[in-house]
Symmetry: C2
Subunit: 411 residues, 2 copies
């Protein structure tokens, strides 16, 4: 029997009516001849409520108790989904993480999946059960206690089940109907993509297209799980949503498939750093130890033994970065004149796997921005992405201009 994994996020199971609507979709796939594993999130708002209780109770809480409290939300939805399916005469039952058992590392509140044995659930499918409803986001650690995978962990659970059970596809039902060429709030010309390569999705997700958790896309790429994102709020055909798949499943690709914008970056410059071998390590080692996520890095040409070093990091890590660098300076590990933080920037990126074989993308991007009078502050490139930092006030203008220039409204 072919097998499908279907995952429903918090807004898709927000109350018993919505659970019923989601169950109908599951019932339809069963009627299509599939065995289905359903992964559910907590009803929307529940996880925040539970986290709130924990934070009211304790500042430096024991993550093992946090996990015991917070995992209860998915447990409730799983039971209700199984009951709803049974009410529709679809043979179903619920599993909690520890019952599968989905084994994880012992890193409570941020555990990683170690193993998903398939025997228990497959035995029930063999007995005639059609749907296994599994509480997402949770597992059991080597200490026999409940673990959770961190926020958004239900996407990761779904992909891991699809990999373990060799599912035909993993459908992620959410409150958006797919992945777009850019944020539709920025330009109405944004177009829903029919297919996106894993690599593109990773760049788009990490750039702020928050449709899927990055970790789940990485996992899907590693195990070649065909992922589909689609809306649980619209009636739709089997071709709905966006398929996230391997590059070779995409016949022909444009140079650029999407434009992403992030307003959460800050630009930091170390002015007049004494340039010497190992200087980059002296700067970025301490930043890494301080937990600063450095993204783009640019080093100016050295003059008279001194240089300027520029990098970007999330705005809310600026203070931490400054402290880390000043600490190294005080201890004599680093010599610079001053740190300048510019928190008024945005990062604009064009992404596309076609970039690998098509040239001129960078030139076209820079010219487009220049024509609009937008100054580029920092540039960084990867194989399938070109990113720039610009003044934040030009964010919308830049996205709209690039979307037009690369003709992303056209399929």
């Amino acid at each position: 029997m072919p097998l499908l994994v279907m995952k429903f996020g918090g807004t898709s199971v927000a109350n018993t009516d919505r659970i019923r609507r989601a169950a109908k979709r599951v019932g339809r796939e069963v009627a299509n001849g599939y065995d289905v594993i359903v992964i559910v999130s907590a009803m929307s708002g529940e996880t925040n409520k539970l986290v709130g209780y924990v934070e009211e109770t304790s500042q430096l809480y024991d993550a093992r108790e946090y996990d015991a409290v917070v995992s209860s939300g998915e447990q409730v939805t799983a039971g209700l989904m199984a009951l709803t399916l049974q009410e529709m005469d679809v043979p179903a039952r619920s599993w909690q993480g520890w019952q599968v058992p989905l084994r994880t590392t012992n890193a409570h509140a941020a555990a990683r999946i170690v193993e998903i044995p398939t025997e228990n659930i497959m035995a029930k499918f063999a007995e005639g059960m059609k749907v296994a409803v599994v509480a997402g986001f949770q597992g059991i650690g080597p200490d026999g206690r409940i673990t959770t995978l961190g926020r958004g962990g239900s996407d990761t659970t779904a992909v891991a089940f699809a990999a373990a059970f060799e599912a035909e596809r993993c459908d992620i039902y959410t409150d958006v109907d797919g992945v777009y060429t850019t944020d539709p709030r920025i330009t109405s010309k944004a177009r829903k993509l029919e297919k996106v390569a894993f690599e593109e999705m990773l760049e788009l997700a990490s750039l702020g297209a928050k449709v899927l958790q990055t970790r789940s896309v990485e996992l899907a790429m590693r195990y070649n799980v065909r992922l589909r994102v689609l809306s649980s709020f619209e009636e739709q055909s089997d071709e709905a949503g966006t398929l996230i798949c391997a590059e070779e499943d995409i016949v022909e690709s444009k140079a650029v498939n999407g434009v992403a914008a992030s307003r959460e970056e800050a630009k930091m410059t170390l002015i007049s750093v004494a340039d010497r071998p190992g200087i980059a390590a002296a700067i970025f080692g301490p930043l890494s130890e301080a937990g600063v996520n450095v993204d783009m890095i640019v080093q100016n040409i050295s003059e008279e033994g001194r240089t300027d070093m520029t990098f970007s990091c999330p705005i809310n890590q600026v203070a931490r970065a400054e402290k880390a660098l000043n600490d190294v300076k005080e201890k004599g590990g680093l010599n610079f004149r001053e740190i300048v933080a510019d928190t008024d920037v945005a990062k604009i990126s064009v992404v596309g796997i076609g970039m690998r074989s098509q040239s001129g993308v960078a030139a076209k991007m820079f010219k487009t921005l220049s024509d609009e009078g937008i100054n580029i502050k920092v540039i960084a490139t990867s194989e399938i992405k070109i990113s720039v930092l610009i003044d934040r006030k030009y964010t919308e203008l830049a996205v709209q201009a690039l979307h037009d220039a690369f003709e992303l409204e056209k399929a």
Copy 2:
């Protein structure tokens, strides 16, 4: 190390503030030198909310899924209580039913406790943990799925833990401060009892003094667990509340220790039943099969081969009882003229273990009611209880008169 079981009901853990207050009591017992097992209910309102979800979803629900959903409430409180204790520097951790594991029968939603292994928790006490917080009301069935013990099952969980761990005492914290000679809403002379025998408590509980679940008192009696009921909302000394204990722990007992009233009884009479051997079985067999809880039974003197048979049962079972008896009549298994149901009665009982050795209690009760002009409709007696049915409008008057007559306001 001496060990104590402390149980907190839903109103005692209704929010994080109340959980903190409860945790302080636990901390005090730890300071007194005890290892403590804390049994918690769900935050008040939570279980009703979860049951509501299940009932919205399905009328004839799968009790296994019901258990998975409903048991999550206690799981949350257990984690929060453990966190609160840790915050107070009391070494604590939470256990869910399946982690202990508290093994039960497979009767989902109404499971009975089979076994509570003590090794896991005792090992942690040996390592220096001072408090084990256990989610009440739940266990794990032979099918490896979560079971629940039925409403009020947290009291039963507490007593079962006290028995398994041979606790010095089992303290039940609730929203009343003990067991009273009668309902204080009926007479302000009602006095809190310092000690009550198990047998008395069973009669009082089943008669409507809803302080403790009957099942938990039965269990305490069987394993001789000293139970204390006390309020979680008042500061109190170690002598607070009411101790429920074996008869031999009560030095001297008055003939009557309490007066109970129940307004949930109905009186039913089968008029002109053909009297023959086996007639009682022909009536009460079918009632039992129909799930009618018959309490008092009275048979009039037989005249000309016919008799009247009167019994009492809960008001909400009257329709069911009438249907069951008419069904038997139709099938020819029983011959009577008509059924008369009187739903306008109350059951008044006087209870006391001292009754065994002191005579004249019944006579005094009947005279007291007669002096007030209250007619007695049905009488039933046991070794430690005398019950009567009277017109419901006299409930308060009867209770007040009997409370005075047996001088229950005096210790």
